[in-house]
Each structure stands twice: as C-alpha cells, then as structure tokens.
C-alpha cells in the first residue's frame, strides 16, 4: 500500500530545479508548498515541505541551521554522496530515509515529511518532521463515567496510540500501520497483543483491511462497514469507543483495536452482544453494585425495545390481561383521543426521534429551549388538548429514558430500529406477533458472527467459565481476565 505506482518506478531527476518544477505541477502550484533553496559547497540543495502539517520549528532548528552551518564550515565536498552522508550526520530529526521513486516522494511530502533534494544526486532525503495539528486530550463526551479515567482519544492517531501504549507497557503489544483510501490515504493503525489475540482473527482482519477499496476514510464507520461480517444486520458487529481504558481492557482480553487518523473513535473487534451492556465503570466500582447496574442496563434495553409494543398489544388485543381498575383509567384517558392508538403511538415515537435529532443538531446555546418546547409544551399540551393520551406519553418517555442507560450508543440505534418493527407486529397480531418477531431476532442473533466469534457467546454456545463476567461481574480477583470469550469458530468464516 505504499503508492499507486509501486510496480513502475519513476526515477527522480538529478536536476533540483526540474524536480521542484515537477512537484509544483503535480501539486497544482499549491501555495502551501514551501521551498527553501540553499547551497552546500557548490551544489544546489532544496528543502521542501508542505506548511501546516510539519513541525516548522524543528525544520528551522534541526535541518536548515545545521545545513547553513555545514556550508560555512566545509566549503568543498568530493561527491554528492559525501554531502548526503554528512547531512545525515548533522540533521537531527527522528527519522531519515533515502528514496529513489518519484511517487514515493509525493506521498511522503503529502504525509508531512520534509524532502531534501541535492543537485546531481539521484536520491531524495525524507525527514520525519510530521506534526499534525490536533486538539488536546479532553474528557470523553459520549462515554462518561463517574469514577475512572477521564482522558479520551483525539483525532490524532499518534496521540491515540500513545494513550493505549501508556496503559499497556508490554513488548507483546503490536502495532501495524497502513494507509487506506485511494484519495485520502488515511493512516490506519492496528493494535493487538501477541499471544493473547487469536492469530487467525488478526490475519483475517489484516487481509480484510488490505482489501478495502474505497476513496476515502473519514471516520471509523467507513472501515466498520467495509469489513464487517454481515452487512444486512441491525446489530453492531464492532464496538467503537473513545475511551483508551476500554480499548486497553479489550486488547487485554484478546481483541483487536483499529485506530484511524482523523477520528477519536477506535474500533474494537471481535465483539459480543453482552459487551454493549458493560461499562468500564463496572470494573471501577464494587462488583455487587456494578452487577446490579449491569442487570438494570439489560432490563432497560429490553424495556426500550418492548415497552411500546407491549402496551399496544395489551390495549388493542389483550384487554382481559389488564387489571380492571387500570383498564378503566386507560379507557377514561382514551375516551376523547381522535386517533387509533397505533397512530398515536407512532406519532409520539416519531416526535421523540425528531426531538432527539434536534437535540444533537442544534447549537448548544438553545439546548434548554428545545427541551422546554419538546417536553413541557408539546407533551403536556398534547395531552391536555386530548390529541394523545397521557399513558402514551408515559410509555414513550419511559422507553426513551431507558435507552440512555446504555454505555454504548451503537446498540441503542439497534433497539430503535427493532422497536418500530415490534410496534408494527404488535399492532397486527398482538403478543403473538411480538413473540414471533422476538423468535426471529433470537434466531438472527444466534446466526451472527463477529470475525468468526459467535455473537451471543457466552450464552450460545454456553460457556460456564465466562458467566463470571457476563450478566453479573464476579470480584476481579476471581475473574480470569483473558480471552475466554473469544473462541475460534472456523466453520463460519
């Protein structure tokens, strides 16, 4: 993946000016190409880089000054080779490479390296001066905890790698990088722990990443959609996280992390369904309490999916199952509501989705205004005006609040999708429909694989040992924190 013309080497010209001209043409006379012409003894030397993605300070101090100094001190060199050798000695940047290929030179300069061209010399020096502007490390915004580390990934891949490395200071932690995207040439890093991660899965993920043929990678989801096992499922087959502690914990369990330049979200794979209900905080608090919270989260997820459908089934198909007093209350509420309950329910569900979307899109400053309009004015006024019954508002609000307990947003979107399917099947044939659809979901879940690992492990296939950290969490000392949940399933690859 080092360049588009790997097989056809285009040699560099030995004339510096010719090379510069060519580069200017290739880059379309881009204004941020910086060219510094110098002389070393009798030879012309050019130092080239693109502004903004290099460490300018370091170039001035560690590249240009020593070369000027060199020119002053040593007026004559025998050959161009001697100049190049001498330069390697005096330039103090982390890495220096010699290249012959024109396209490699182009890629390097675009990646933020500095190029030194020397007259009558067929090679170019590539200096590692890359420095990409990024924001500083802040608190995570999507996966917050009360107790636990407060740092999160940034858009800079090297910062992100450093955050993981600092947590796992082990020689077995492996990093492979590659460039993906024929236009963007985005850096994609790939981390795992040798000896814990399943070698076959590592190879599989690598080959899938190398097979990706798209123009651009701007966010983790580009990779996720390109390499996942089943493209038709609603369930997330990879976890994305902006927390280094989650990534570190998963690496230690034998998983693989894919770190992508330009996004703070790191992909973790393979993933199990139960992981979406586990918060890093589960391990930072007392295990009894965190087990309880984990059960609450699973309950919330189910309620989020099923509350509306069950309510609908009860009041349209199975009125006999409601206690009489409650039934009378519900009937009283619905007396003057003009719409059928299914329309009413869909209206409210859609209204909530709109509010949620509005909440994400709108500028921060008008946040409170939307919640006032949404919750107070719309909700209360709609009930008082008799457009919707109060029970529907309660049901929709309950299911919405329940969705916020989940530590991972990927699975919430799944529940949103399934909720609507369940509502339709419930409106159609009541509990029977809910049951049928639930069966379909279960069958589908059992058929899912994330990089060959059964998605609903450790329940199906059932593994007793792994139960210690699935629905509930045993004390950390009794957990055998290895890759017990990851098991090869070669059949289904």
């Amino acid at each position: 993946m080092s360049g588009r013309n790997q097989n056809h080497l285009i040699p560099l010209s030995e004339n510096v000016e010719e090379n510069i001209k060519r580069l200017e043409i290739e880059l379309g006379n881009s204004d941020d190409l910086s060219i510094r012409r110098l002389k070393v003894s009798t030879k012309n030397v050019a130092i080239l880089h693109i502004e903004g993605i290099v460490d300018e300070h370091s170039i001035n101090e560690n590249v240009i000054s020593p070369i000027i100094q060199l020119h002053k001190e040593t007026p004559s060199f025998k050959t161009e080779n001697d100049i190049a050798d001498k330069m390697v000695q005096i330039i103090s940047v982390p890495s220096i490479q010699f290249i012959l290929d024109w396209s490699e030179l182009l890629d390097s300069i675009l990646a933020g390296n500095t190029v030194i061209l020397i007259e009558d010399y067929s090679k170019a020096l590539i200096l590692g001066t890359k420095k990409i502007q990024s924001r500083s490390i802040t608190e995570p915004t999507t996966q917050t905890v009360i107790k636990g580390p407060k740092d999160s990934f940034t858009e800079n891949i090297s910062t992100n790698i450093s955050l993981v490395r600092s947590r796992i200071q082990n020689a077995k932690l492996r990093l492979k990088t590659t460039k993906v995207g024929s236009v963007t040439k985005t850096d994609v890093g790939f981390m795992y722990i040798e000896g814990i991660a399943d070698h076959n899965i590592v190879m599989e993920v690598m080959s899938r990443i190398n097979k990706i043929k798209i123009d651009s990678i701007l966010e983790a989801n580009y990779i996720e959609e390109a390499i996942r096992d089943n493209r038709k499922t609603l369930f997330p087959l990879m976890q994305s996280s902006e927390r280094p502690d989650i990534v570190a914990a998963n690496l230690l369990e034998g998983k693989i992390a894919i770190i992508i330049q330009g996004t703070p979200f790191v992909l973790i794979l393979p993933v199990l369904l139960i992981q979406f209900f586990q918060s890093p905080e589960d391990y930072y608090e007392n295990n009894v309490f965190s087990s309880f919270l984990r059960l609450i989260r699973i309950g919330s997820f189910l309620l989020n999916m099923y509350a509306s459908a069950i309510y609908l089934a009860l009041i349209t198909h199975h009125q006999g199952l409601i206690p009489t007093t409650l039934m009378v209350t519900l009937m009283a509420q619905r007396e003057r509501v003009p719409f059928p309950v299914i329309i009413e329910l869909l209206l409210m569900e859609l209204a909530f989705e709109v509010l949620r979307e509005a909440g994400v899109r709108m500028p921060r400053a008008i946040g409170p205004a939307v919640s006032i309009v949404g919750a107070l004015i719309l909700g209360q006024a709609a009930v008082e005006a008799g457009f919707v019954s109060a029970a529907i508002v309660i049901i929709v609000a309950t299911s919405a609040i329940n969705s916020f307990t989940l530590p991972n947003t990927n699975i919430v979107n799944t529940a949103r999708g399934l909720r609507f399917l369940l509502i339709f099947s419930s409106a159609f044939i009541g509990f029977y429909g809910i049951l049928l659809l639930t069966l379909c979901i279960l069958v589908h879940l059992c058929s899912l694989r994330s990089f060959g690992v059964p998605y609903v492990a450790p329940f199906a296939p059932f593994r007793m040992g792994a139960q210690k950290d699935s629905l509930i969490r045993f004390p950390i000392t009794s957990l055998n924190m290895t890759h017990s949940n990851i098991q090869k399933d070669t059949k289904t690859k």
Binding site: V328, A332, R334, F428, I429
Partner: protein, 390 residues
C-alpha cells in the same frame, strides 16, 4: 432464508383473525344481573352493567353516574348478550366481568345450566363471584349508586369481602367453585345473598349520592341450595357458623351473656373439621378449635382469676355448640348437605358411599350430630378488669 419466510408465513396464518380493538370502541361489561323473563317462557331477563369510563377519569371530578345498565330479554344468556347490541352502542367486552347477580326468583326456580354460557365462552374469566339478589331482582340490586362506592359492582364485591373479613356471613364464591360444587357428589351449594337496605327514595338515582342515609347494598345471609334450587336462607350467626365449620372464615366475634349483660369475644384463629362415623349409628361429627380474645365486657368480672376465665371459655363453648347444632339441624331438615359430609364420607369410606349415595339425603337428615368445641382465651386486651364507675 426461503425456509424462514415460509415458516413465518405459516405462523402468521395460525392465529386466524386479528382481534384489534380500540379502547374507545369498547363497552366494558363489569356486571351481569340475571332475572326470570316476564314475557318469554324459560327465558332470562339479563341486565348488563357497562362502565362509563369518562366518569371514572383520574383527573377532573365526575359529573354523573359511572355505569349504565342495559336490560334485554332472551331465551339464553348468549342470545341476550348478542341481542344487547340493539341498545349497547359499543362492542361488548366480557373479559372484565367481575360480578354476576342472580335473582332469588330464578334461584328458587332452579339455576339449571345458566352458568354454562360463562364456562363455555372464551371471553369471560371464570373467577368472578356469584351472588343471589335476596327478595328483589338482580336488576334492582345493580341499579343503585352509593356515595362511598359509586360503582355498584365494586360496592357489592367490597361490601361482601369486607364482611367476610370482619364477621363471616358472606363468602365470595367464584364461578368455577360454584360449578365444582354443583357437579360434585355429597356437597350442596351455598351462595351469599345481597339486597338493598332500603328502596330508593327518589326516582333520580344521583339523589342517592347526595343522601346522608343512602340506599346501599347489604350483605344478607346465605342461600342454601338443594341441587340447583334455592330452598332456604341462613341468616346472621347461622350463616357465619357454616363458614366456621368449613374453616372458611378470617375473623369473627361471639357475644355471650354475662351476669344479665353481655360480653364479646373476637377470634382471628379458628379451625373447624368434620368427620363422619358410621358405628354404632351414622354420626356427623364437627370439631371446632377456637382462639379468642376478650374485646368487650359489660359486666363486672375478675378477669385476673383463671377460674373465671375457664368459666367464660365453657360458656363460649356451650354457646357455639348450641349455635352450630341449630345450623346443622336446619341443613338436615331441608336435606341440603352444605358442609360436605357426603364428600368427606366418600373419601373416608368409599365402599359404603358407593352403596348408599342414592339415599344419602335421607341418611344425612336422620344422622346424629356431635359438636365438639374447644375454645380458649388468649388475651384480654389492654386491660384486665373493666373499670368501675364510682
């Protein structure tokens, strides 16, 4: 994938039609009253009581009566239910039926197979209780709204449940219990009676809600059935004693004389067992063990003296024995074995029962009765001796 789709399609066809129904299209029948039809021979006059939900809304004060009654006459109950659609504006839903009242007139004629429709029907539960409207029609009993419980159905149920807890005349008998007893051998049915304590004074029913002495539902005795026909009533203590013998009582009170005045003992723990002895002569034996506490004393007695307490216990035992004997006597006179001595005998001595079950009614009527009561006083309340006015 195709297999799955086929399977789903088949599964979708299995349930048949969807019974999608909106709540505001539903007429919730919460009670039914069954009377003898005036016009149709062997027909019924059925009153359906429907909830008017807007009057029971949790927000906003009710402005009218929370229920409406619709009465139709037909040959069978189901026919009446279907025919009721000529006057009921909503789809009748029986799944919340929680009370059936049968008039005394119909009960005396014989309930026959009136319960078949409920047992056979798919909509109604079989857990609703059955009451007898004593000396009045079921239609009248269901036609009263009283201030404390504006819903007549709830009023009937809660009054009788309350009485069951406090005294024990009434006992809620659900449909399936009734059918079990009716179809069993050696046990006859008793059903609780209800009536109005007085007739409505005004034609306008909402006036009853504003009356300080409203016309209300009153629990009134137990109806004794011989097979499916009502034969006589037990009242007050005697109705209570039936449940005492059957151990189907939560708590009750006994009043016994004491130095020309009275004293009352209440009991929360009691147990009655029955036995049948064949030799030397057929005997019906009733054993009652009872734990009481003194709750009111209107005479001067030294309650710290164990001798006095033993005397009271003996008095109480005598009183209960007398009452229970009279109760069983009436049961024997009418030939209705409401205590289930026959059932007990069939379990204790199946061969004898097989031979004699045809003549059990006469055997039962002639049998000797032996009542043993063991009463004990556990407690005399917060004080020992009553205060002495000086």
């Amino acid at each position: 994938m195709r297999k799955l789709v086929t399977l789903l399609f088949i599964l979708l066809l299995i349930p048949g039609c969807s019974n999608y129904r909106e709540l505001n299209e539903l007429g919730l029948i919460i009670a039914m009253g069954i009377d003898v039809s005036q016009d149709i021979d062997d027909g019924y006059r059925v009153t359906f009581q429907l909830i008017n939900p807007s009057q029971l809304s949790p927000t906003g004060a009710p402005t009218g009566i929370p229920v409406s009654n619709y009465t139709v006459e037909a040959e069978t109950i189901t026919e009446a239910y279907r025919r009721a659609s000529i006057i009921i504006p909503r789809y009748n839903d029986l799944s919340h039926l929680s009370l059936v009242v049968i008039s005394e007139e119909l009960a005396r004629k014989g309930t026959n197979l009136v319960f078949d429709a409920f047992e056979r029907g798919k909509q109604a539960k079989s857990t609703f209780p059955i009451f007898i409207a004593r000396g009045t029609s079921a239609e009248n009993v269901l036609g009263v709204v009283e201030p404390l419980e504006s819903n007549p159905t709830k009023s009937v149920r809660s009054t009788s449940e309350n009485n069951q807890k406090m005294y024990g005349i009434s006992k809620v008998m659900s449909l399936h219990e009734v059918i079990t007893i009716l179809s069993s051998e050696g046990k006859d049915l008793v059903l609780p009676g209800i009536k109005l304590n007085k007739n409505l004074t005004s034609k306008n029913q909402t006036d009853n809600l504003n009356n300080i002495k409203p016309s209300v539902i009153e629990v009134s005795g137990l109806a004794l059935f011989n097979k499916d026909k009502l034969v006589t009533w037990y009242d007050g203590e005697m109705a209570r004693n039936v449940h005492l013998v059957l151990s189907e009582i939560d708590s009750t009170s006994f009043t016994i004389p004491c130095e020309k005045k009275n004293m009352t003992l209440i009991s929360k723990r009691m147990r009655g067992t029955i036995k049948t002895l064949l030799k030397p002569i057929p005997t019906l034996q009733v054993n009652i063990a009872i734990n009481t506490e003194i709750s009111e004393v209107n005479c001067n007695k030294d309650l710290t003296n164990t001798k006095v307490l033993t005397d009271i216990e003996e008095d109480l035992e005598k009183e209960i024995t007398r009452q229970v004997q009279r109760t069983i006597q009436i049961s024997q006179d009418t030939g209705t074995d409401v205590f289930g001595f026959g059932t007990k005998l069939s379990k204790d001595n199946p061969s004898y029962w097989k031979k004699h079950k045809k003549e059990w009614n006469t055997l039962f009527s002639k049998a000797k009765v032996a009542v043993n009561v063991k009463a004990s006083i556990n407690d005399s309340g917060h004080v020992t001796d009553p205060y002495e006015p000086n």
